[in-house]
């Protein structure tokens, strides 16, 4: 004798019966994670079983996705709480790293609840502007070219450099040096605090002389 086919209404009833005790627990402790996790798990099972009988409607699919998201958030939150408890007991660096990884996962699952266009906007805001990379690349190429030419003249590796008179050579080297320092200066200016190490140190000296705190 084959198995009796279960009707969708029967599955729904069973799920409601299974969920009921967890709902009662939740009414007493509204912030409890485990009953909420159980409820989400049962509803996911229900929709998956229903999907085998007939195709899910759009509303049902949306609900299934929501339950899945909730389950992911709750699982990662549980993981964070467990890891935090463990770290509080042991205070070992290994547990600290585990706690951080758990927190990172929790953060990511929370971020998934944000609507995709909004999330994209948020991420794009973080990427540094394109002009910054372009200008940096251009300056780097120019600097590399200048350095090559400087070396060629200094060590006389090209025919052009070999026939240069000492005066000419010195002048060319000076010119390239000047250009190079200008390029470097532009590279520093690119960011608000993109200073060279010697400039940074100068800044610190000035601050110290002015009696700034923390020095």
């Amino acid at each position: 004798m084959g198995e009796r086919e279960i009707e969708p209404r029967e599955i729904l009833r069973r799920t409601r019966v299974e969920v009921a005790p967890y709902m009662r627990e939740l009414a007493r402790h509204s912030r409890a994670i485990l009953p909420r996790l159980e409820i989400a798990k049962r509803w996911i099972e229900y929709y998956e079983a229903l999907g085998k009988v007939r195709p899910l409607t759009r509303a049902e699919q949306r609900k299934l996705e929501e339950h899945r998201k909730t389950q992911r958030i709750l699982e990662s939150r549980l993981e964070v709480l467990r890891a935090a408890g463990r770290y509080a007991r042991t205070k070992s660096p290994k547990d600290l790293a585990d706690l951080r990884l758990a927190q990172s996962r929790y953060y990511e699952s929370r971020a998934e609840t944000v609507a995709p266009p909004k999330r994209r906007e948020f991420i794009e805001k973080f990427v540094p502007p394109r002009e910054f990379y372009d200008e940096l690349a251009a300056i780097r190429e120019e600097i590399e070219e200048k350095c090559k030419r400087y070396k060629a003249i200094k060590y006389r590796t090209t025919p052009e450099a070999m026939i240069m008179s000492p005066d000419e050579r010195e002048r060319a080297l000076k010119e390239i040096g000047k250009d190079l320092s200008l390029k470097y200066a532009r590279a520093y200016e690119l960011g608000q605090k993109g200073m060279s190490i010697s400039e940074l140190i100068e800044h610190y000296r000035e601050m110290k002389e002015l009696g700034a705190r923390g020095f």
């Binding site: 205070k91 660096p93 290994k94 600290l96 790293a97 951080r100 990427v127 990379y133 993109g194 140190i201």
Partner: protein, 319 residues
């Protein structure tokens, strides 16, 4: 006590699947900043949800995002520069969604005077605080802390590099960075290279001194990353492990030598039959059964063997 092997991986290696099945990897900005389409790469990775998701790397593999290095040119001091401001580098690091972000740092030179060293260390400290404050401001970290000094919540771990010119200076730096960073980096490569007059054994003794001072100062509450520790001298490894055992500390070894030997030189870690005490990198053509290994096979084998050596050494070393 715990050890992790962190490998320096480039983009090609990540694409080839080197990052699967290892403890962790270190991805430096060097690998994409020199390319023309760096902006597109950063944006793509950010929109895909980070480097790990973009390249299907398992979530338990630890990803450390390296910082920019100051450029070195012929005239060392005059033209030494950051290629960009630290906070922009941090913004970009956040886009890559790593587990650990390395804080930008200034290395110390041999030619530096006492005052200059102090100033460089002050700048390093300033950058750590700046990184921390920015992360708190943007909601990636909480400002409340555990009694141990670490923030209660943080999406990213910070790796602060403790430079110094003598062991106590490293310890002082570590003491300061302890409040902001979960991981403290000790620049071992610099220590090993700088004292060129000493023998290799003496250099490792110096490293042990530095580690001992740091652990004395901060206890074993933070992970210590041995930065640029190439694991090139396996015979000296026992000294480092003895320190870890004594303090029950957690060390992360950065092993760039292994990647270099595996991918470029195709050398495999093996025992010399004539001298069984010696374990060294040997070309695959000389090792029986390894003749047809691909670079990835060599890398996986070396990783496995090195972890075995570490766990065996722990058993025989007295802390």
């Amino acid at each position: 006590m715990d050890f992790k092997l962190i490998h320096d991986l480039g983009l090609h290696q990540i694409k080839d699947g080197y990052a699967n099945g290892i403890d962790g990897f270190f991805f430096s900005t060097l690998w994409y900043l020199r390319k023309k389409n760096a902006y597109d790469f950063v944006k793509d990775v950010a929109l895909k949800g980070g480097l790990k998701k973009a390249f299907n790397i398992p979530s338990n593999v630890i990803y450390i995002h390296g910082s920019d290095r100051p450029l070195e040119t012929e005239s060392k001091d005059k033209f030494r520069m950051f290629i960009r401001p630290p906070l922009i580098a941090l913004r970009e690091a956040v886009c890559f969604n790593p587990d650990v972000i390395q804080v930008m740092d200034l290395p110390i030179d041999d030619s530096d005077s006492e005052q200059r060293i102090c100033e460089k260390l002050a700048i390093n400290r300033d950058m750590v605080v700046e990184y921390h404050n920015w992360l708190v401001k943007l909601g990636f970290r909480s400002s409340s802390r555990y009694k141990t000094g670490v923030p209660r919540f943080s999406k990213f771990m910070l790796l602060g590099v403790c430079h110094g010119d003598y062991p106590d200076a490293h310890a002082e730096e570590a003491k300061f960075m302890k409040d902001y960073c979960e991981i403290l980096g000790i620049p071992i490569a610099g220590l090993l290279a700088r004292h060129s007059r000493l023998t290799v054994s003496q250099r490792y003794d110096y490293v042990v001194q530095v580690l001992t001072k740091v652990l004395d100062a901060i206890g074993n509450g933070r992970i210590i990353q041995l930065m640029g520790f190439g694991l090139s001298r396996i015979s000296e490894l026992s000294k480092i492990i003895a320190v870890a055992k004594k303090y029950d500390a957690v060390f992360w070894f950065e092993s760039s030598t292994m990647v270099r030997n595996s991918t470029h030189a195709r050398k495999i870690l093996s025992v010399n039959i004539k001298n069984p005490d010696l374990v060294e990198y040997v070309n695959i053509s000389k090792v029986k059964g390894a003749e047809k290994f691909t670079p990835l096979d060599v890398f996986r084998e070396n990783n496995r063997v090195m972890k075995g050596i570490l766990s065996q050494t722990v058993l025989f070393v007295n802390g």
